[in-house]
């Protein structure tokens, strides 16, 4: 007979060799933890009572602090009484009795062939004395062998923990996690694809149901696990057995599964001994406290893949479809970003609270101006009231887009305050030069040298006296601080937005004389639009003097140059000759770029720093 001495088998050994009925140490610890859970001792801070080693303190130590010592003594007394009532010995008492038996020459010990002991549990104290005495008395060799598990152990444990949480009423997030476990029975790629397909708003069950072949087996497993827990009087070991049956465990770590089953059995034993009922979180805590993942394993002999030769650049197919000013802006800013965004389109740019502020604000102003195209007819109070109503309603529609409640609330308030300033400006402006809003979010199409452009003009105003048109672009982020600076951007081919709108509306027969950027970022500042008057002849620059005026001019020739650059870029993009899209050299462009991880060509940071 071979005797195995470890945490899991001591009760069996004690019974087989000494006819002792004991509860092993892990059950004792679980009893203490159950007692704490049922009635937390007021003298013990929660973080101590909750920490795994505290059960050992209760059972075997007397803390220096009198109140703490009293609490431990109280818990220990209840524990001892519980065992006594059930006619069981504690592990410590059983070891003492077994040692006494071994010293008793009259005691008849069955013949043993070998004793294999786990040094972690039998390497010290009474356990060590017992193992040594047993070996001496039986004459069997004592071999020390540490229990180990395979590298699959953490995933195995995680699968059971997740399944337990699901059983106890866990939501969709838990179901997704379980499906992505290597033991869910769903191929890993399918599992992750289903999670991605479900996204943030669809339930996993609906997503699975929508598939043709489907992973309906997994849904059945989920039901079975939950039903097993919900069954009246369900024991921990029964639920664990169901989980084990529903999971696909051939590649799981058998030692860990055995430990899980043992602890579930121990929890059931605690139920019987204490007359109380287990709880999944208690079982999970018991796994944390009692399971030691002693993972054995060694590195794999790795065979590096050969480094590939630099591939020849193959031209990408000509880009089909339409262009937009913003896509050309992106191309001008960073060709690699343009490649990732417009050609690959594999990574979602999820936006930020600042971008949703802008979207909601645009939407609010669209609603407002569609209802009130002629501001001069309104009194200032009406303007403010309706603007605020439109902002509130627009932000409510976008509430879920914001990352947190506080961002939503504060961006909404910021928008309301900014809208008030905007209202003041609007009233003053329309009193000075009455105008009519011809349209908002105007869908605009234009063919330039055979290239189709589309875009949306935020707002188009017609001067009531002259009939001249103004293209208005709302800006809720940082913009140029002067007309000259914006004009420089246009001339430097960094911004094609307003030139495109100009040519689109001119083509449509409008007489556009003014291009306006309307800053709607800060509530503390008055609204001071950047305005470029379209003039036939370029204005003379002031040499080196910096022109900080917010009103300036841009000539038709300059707008024509911008247009020519637009078609030139379109021709490049559509040429079918581009083989590579290099990254920008300006690291600032990478700061909030959604494609940062994807980009191997990202320049190193060289931004000026701000210390705190």
């Amino acid at each position: 007979m071979e005797v195995l001495l470890d945490d899991a088998r001591l009760a069996d050994v004690a019974h087989a060799l000494f006819e002792l009925s004991i509860v092993d140490a892990s059950i004792s610890r679980l009893i203490v933890r159950r007692l704490i859970r049922e009635g937390p001792p007021p003298e013990v801070p929660a973080q101590i009572a909750r920490s795994a080693p505290f059960a050992e303190v209760v059972l075997f130590q007397t803390p220096g602090d009198p109140a703490l010592a009293a609490a431990c003594a109280r818990l220990r007394a209840v524990h001892d009484r519980t065992l006594q009532t059930a006619g069981k010995l504690s592990e410590a008492a059983a070891l003492e009795r077994a040692l006494a038996n071994l010293e008793d020459a009259a005691f008849e010990l069955p013949p043993l062939e070998a004793i294999v002991a786990d040094p972690r549990s039998f390497g010290s104290g009474a356990h060590l004395r017992f193992a040594t005495a047993l070996a001496e008395r039986s004459g069997a060799p004592l071999e020390w062998r540490e229990g180990t598990c395979t590298p699959a152990a953490p995933a195995t444990l995680d699968a059971f923990v997740t399944a337990l949480r699901w059983a106890a009423g866990g939501g969709d997030e838990i179901a997704r996690r379980l499906m992505c476990s290597p033991f869910s029975g769903v191929a890993s790629v399918d599992a992750r694809a289903l999670v991605v397909a479900a996204g943030a708003r669809t339930s996993l069950a609906d997503t699975i149901a929508a598939q043709k072949p489907g992973a309906t087996g997994f849904l059945t497993a989920l039901d079975a696990i939950r039903n097993a827990y919900r069954a009246q009087g369900a024991r921990a070991s029964e639920v664990i057995r169901t989980i084990a049956a529903e999971l696909d465990l051939p590649s799981a770590d058998a030692a860990t599964v055995a430990q899980i089953e043992r602890i579930a059995g121990a929890v059931d034993a605690v139920d019987l001994l204490t007359g109380t009922v287990w709880d999944p979180e208690e079982l999970i805590a018991a796994f944390d406290a009692e399971i030691v993942l002693n993972i054995s394993g060694q590195a794999r002999e790795a065979a590096p893949a050969p480094v590939a030769a630099v591939p020849p650049g193959s031209p990408l197919p000509p880009r089909r479809g339409h262009f937009s000013a913003s896509s050309l802006n992106a191309f001008a800013e960073c060709k690699r970003k343009w490649f990732f965004r417009y050609l690959c389109s594999a990574v979602e740019d999820k936006g930020s609270s600042a971008s949703f502020y802008g979207t909601a604000f645009h939407s609010a102003l669209e609603a407002f101006h569609e209802r009130f195209p002629h501001i001069a007819e309104l009194d200032p109070r009406t303007v403010t009231t309706h603007l605020e109503a439109c902002i509130t309603s627009a932000f409510d529609r976008y509430r879920d887009a914001f990352e947190s409640n506080v961002e939503f609330e504060l961006q909404r308030r910021r928008a309301i305050r900014t809208a008030r300033k905007y209202g003041e400006w609007l009233v003053a402006r329309s009193a000075q030069a009455p105008f009519t809003v011809i349209g908002c979010e105007i869908s605009t199409e234009l063919v330039l040298d055979g290239f189709d452009f589309v875009g949306y003009i935020d707002r188009l105003d017609r001067d009531d006296r002259t009939g001249e048109m103004t293209v208005v672009d709302y800006k809720t982020g940082s913009i140029a601080t002067s007309a000259a600076e914006y004009r420089e951007k246009v001339l430097g081919f960094e911004d094609f937005q307003l030139p495109f709108y100009y040519w689109a509306r001119t083509e449509a027969g409008d007489r556009v004389t003014r291009l306006v950027l309307l800053p709607l970022k800060e509530a503390t500042a008055d609204v001071l639009p950047i305005e470029l008057e379209v003039v036939p002849v370029p204005a003379q620059t002031n040499g080196k003097r910096v022109d900080r005026a917010i009103v300036g001019t841009i000539s038709i020739d300059e707008l024509r140059t911008a247009r020519a650059k637009m078609t030139e870029l379109c021709a490049v993009i559509s040429s079918g000759s581009l083989t590579h899209f290099p990254a920008t050299e300006d690291p600032q462009a990478c700061r909030y770029c959604a494609y940062r991880p994807a980009c191997r060509e990202r320049p190193a940071n060289n931004e000026d720093r701000f210390g705190r």
Partner: protein, 764 residues
């Protein structure tokens, strides 16, 4: 070893000084403080070999990448080295001792019994949990409208959280708890607003930038409004601070600063425990004492008594570079003690020392050789090329690469300089708070690891497909991101998610690339070389995925990185570049191993998520990468080291020193919370209190002074030559001083200005 061997008279005096009283050892850089301190410790230990080494403390508040520990080994009897191994506070961090005391007395400390010491970046995750309910506006104070959430900085929750955590760390380092913080904040508000200062003070107006002058034009109503916002902010910060500490306690983990604060509390609350330790510890030897926080000082007092008998502190006020992080040199060097100043000079020449003093703002004259050189390049690239050229020249002239150092204030710009050195064929080592996950080589590794764990992380998969063993060109990437040409190829059906906000995004795009790569849905559309590369990658990825179950986390990561070919030589790169890549990958694997070993339940996916989260961390963990080569180090990490030749780079406004831009709120024990942003129905962007306080406390000057000391410290690392460099045209120094320009303008007779005269070796 004779403890006094090779020492000068003053140093011998230090070794022999009586051990009962507090001894403070000061002296200029290179005066032999550390040597004297170590010998004093060695003599004390050797005096009675029967005393356990555990009863001595020898530490520095700065991470030294093991250097202090190596030095301890050198001075302690080799017979005792084995004993030394298990005592981390002999040459390691003071916090390890605090942690050991807490672990021994966890019940009395009322902390979890399985307490762990964590890095600062890990504490940010605990902080995130603590702040979640605040940003969700779930606090009862918000629900009941008791507090208005419109608070300084709150509009950007991430930045607010970062600023709050920075503040809490400083408070913790100063042993100010949440209750004290709130008390002082409210008291400060009452005192300030009940008798506001003269906002029309001409000196104040004159010192305030025009953009912010309007903030001083406030009436009583506006001040009252600002006060209410400030009080709400103080309450929110107080509660958040408490929640953060509760979260750490709940999770049973503490940072080094927390451990010192908690251990000090424990010893103050339990005099009997303090007495026990006081009897136990024989002596403490603290190097770099100028960087000790108030908390660390109080901890030492708790262990050695108020008079700190048995403690020896060694330091130099002029090298204090942690005052903004909570160090209090003014308290340390004014303690009642036997103060001994070392006047020897064992490192720098008189001219280098004079240059260091001039940089500090206390010009000193000197005559001698031209071992101080100044260089202003036109561009950052040229500056980096200059340093690389000069370093290569020194190495060619027999300088050991490890005896050449590049001191930088912040690792943000490190890559320019490092890559230039490596391109010049010079191996490098790095010491400091390195943003490892921002290194392209490491990102390549992370991309492969992500591909194994979750190929639907398309941002990483795109990168993985461009790594050297796959190397798809742009056409290949483009094709793999597209729809399969065969319409029969099944894609996942996507139920309508009713999301109108992001409706422009086709959610199928979240699936295509991964399915095309892993399932081969688009194989038929690929040209032969791309097809072959993708198929090979697919096979490798599939093996890697299996290895996640078959191998331990660190072994799986090692295999993936190896098999992904990231360690293989790349055509055209030199040895230094290949070594750098291997060093960086080793550093990554060390972090993965440490992460996994700390808790064997963790998976590789957990690590990747953690790494992604900590990319946003305020300060990455300290690391030492590489074993031999030109030493690139942040200045704090180079303290205690010396080199034959030192380059101090990027000495320009906005880099060294950085522009001072305070957080959304500050805290002063006297004035309470000082919100920067004026929020709510405000007409100005800044609060009056902030504008006034900036002038009153001379914040910018304090900030700049710290950088001057850092520069002093950096220059003082040099034995034979120091080269100070910058790039671009110097500003007028209004936003921040131009350190190099100041030195150039000082026309130091012993300094050579190479600006304009240097030509790259390749063009000479």
């Amino acid at each position: 070893m004779n403890a006094a061997m090779g020492l000068d008279d003053q140093q011998r005096g230090v070794v022999a000084a009586p051990g009962e009283a507090l001894v403070i050892l000061t002296g200029a850089p290179g005066s032999g403080k550390t040597t004297a301190l170590l010998r004093r410790a060695a003599a004390r230990i050797a005096a009675d070999p029967s005393i356990s080494l555990e009863r001595f403390i020898l530490t520095s508040p700065l991470p030294r990448a093991g250097r202090l520990r190596t030095l301890v080994h050198e001075v302690i009897d080799p017979v005792r080295h084995r004993e030394l191994e298990s005592i981390p506070w002999l040459g390691g961090e003071l916090a390890t001792l605090a942690h050991a005391i807490l672990a021994e007395n966890a019940l009395a400390a009322q902390l979890a019994l399985d307490l762990t010491l964590i890095d600062e970046d890990e504490s940010e995750i605990a902080f995130e949990r603590a702040g979640a309910s605040l940003f969700a506006l779930e606090w009862t104070e918000f629900v009941s409208a008791e507090i208005d959430p419109e608070l300084a900085g709150m509009r950007a929750p991430e930045r607010f959280a970062a600023a709050a955590l920075r503040l809490f760390r400083k408070l913790r380092a100063a042993l100010i708890g949440p209750d004290q913080f709130l008390d002082r904040a409210l008291r400060g508000a009452v005192e300030f607003y009940s008798a506001p200062p003269n906002f029309a003070d001409p000196a104040l107006l004159g010192a305030t930038r025009e953009d912010y002058r309007d903030s001083l034009s406030v009436d009583a109503d506006e001040l009252q409004r600002q006060r209410l916002r400030e009080v709400d902010l103080a309450k929110v910060l107080g509660r958040l601070y408490q929640s953060y500490l509760d979260e750490l306690v709940r999770a049973g983990c503490l940072t080094a600063t927390d451990a010192i604060a908690e251990a000090t509390r424990l010893l103050a609350e339990h005099p009997e425990i303090a007495q026990r330790y006081r009897r136990n510890f024989v002596a403490a030897f603290i190097d770099d004492a100028q960087d000790l926080t108030l908390g660390a000082l109080r901890f030492l007092e708790a262990l050695f008594g108020k008079d700190l008998s048995g403690v020896t502190l060694a330091g130099d006020r002029d090298q204090a570079t942690q005052t903004l992080a909570g160090a209090r040199p003014e308290r340390i060097f004014t303690l009642a003690a036997t103060t001994m100043e070392l006047r020897g000079s064992y490192r720098t020449s008189a001219t280098i020392a004079a240059a260091a003093r001039t940089a500090l703002g206390t010009p000193q004259s000197a005559a001698g050789s031209n071992d101080v050189r100044l260089f202003r390049a036109r561009t950052l690239d040229e500056e980096a090329a200059f340093i690389a050229d000069e370093a290569a020249r020194l190495v060619a002239r027999d300088a050991n690469p490890g005896d050449v150092a590049l001191a930088i204030r912040s690792f943000v710009w490190m890559r320019f300089y490092r890559d230039a050195l490596v391109s010049a064929g010079l191996p490098v080592t790095m010491r400091g708070w390195i943003d490892l996950y921002d290194e392209p080589d490491v990102e390549d590794a992370l991309a492969l690891l992500w591909a194994a764990c979750d190929p639907f992380r398309h941002d990483w998969l795109l990168r993985a497909l461009a790594t050297p063993t796959v190397r798809l060109n742009d056409l290949g990437l483009y094709l793999l991101c597209g729809e399969p040409s065969n319409p029969q190829t099944a894609l996942f059906e996507l139920p309508d998610d009713g999301d109108s906000v992001r409706s422009r995004w086709d959610r199928r795009r979240n699936l295509r690339l991964a399915l095309n790569v892993v399932r081969g849905d688009r194989d038929a559309d690929l040209d032969e070389p791309t097809h072959a590369a993708v198929v090979a990658f697919r096979e490798r990825r599939s093996r890697w995925e299996r290895s996640l179950l078959e191998l331990r986390v660190e072994d799986a990561a090692t295999a993936i990185i190896e098999e992904g070919g990231l360690r293989e030589p790349v055509r055209g790169e030199n040895d230094a570049r290949a070594a750098l890549r291997r060093d960086l990958l080793d550093a990554l694997l060390r972090r993965i191993t440490a992460y996994a070993v700390r808790d064997r339940r963790r998976s590789l996916h957990d690590f990747l998520t953690y790494a992604e989260r900590t990319t946003l961390a305020d300060r990455p963990p300290f690391d030492a990468i590489g074993s031999e080569g030109v030493a690139i180090g942040s200045i704090d990490a180079l303290k205690g080291h010396e080199f034959a030749h030192v380059f101090v780079c990027n000495l320009r406004a906005g880099a060294f020193p950085a522009y001072y831009s305070p957080d959304a709120f500050l805290f002063s024990p006297t004035f309470g919370v000082i919100p920067k942003d004026n929020v709510g129905d405000a007409e100005t962007t800044r609060t009056a209190k902030f504008t006034w306080y900036s002038h009153h406390a001379k914040l910018k000057d304090l900030y700049t002074s710290e950088d001057r000391r850092a520069l002093f410290c950096a220059i003082s690392r040099a034995r034979e030559s120091v080269t100070l460099t910058a790039s671009g045209r110097a500003t007028r120094g209004i936003g921040a001083p131009e350190f190099l320009a100041e030195l150039q303008n000082a026309r130091l007779p012993y300094a050579t200005d190479l600006s304009g005269s240097w030509r790259p070796r390749s063009r000479r």
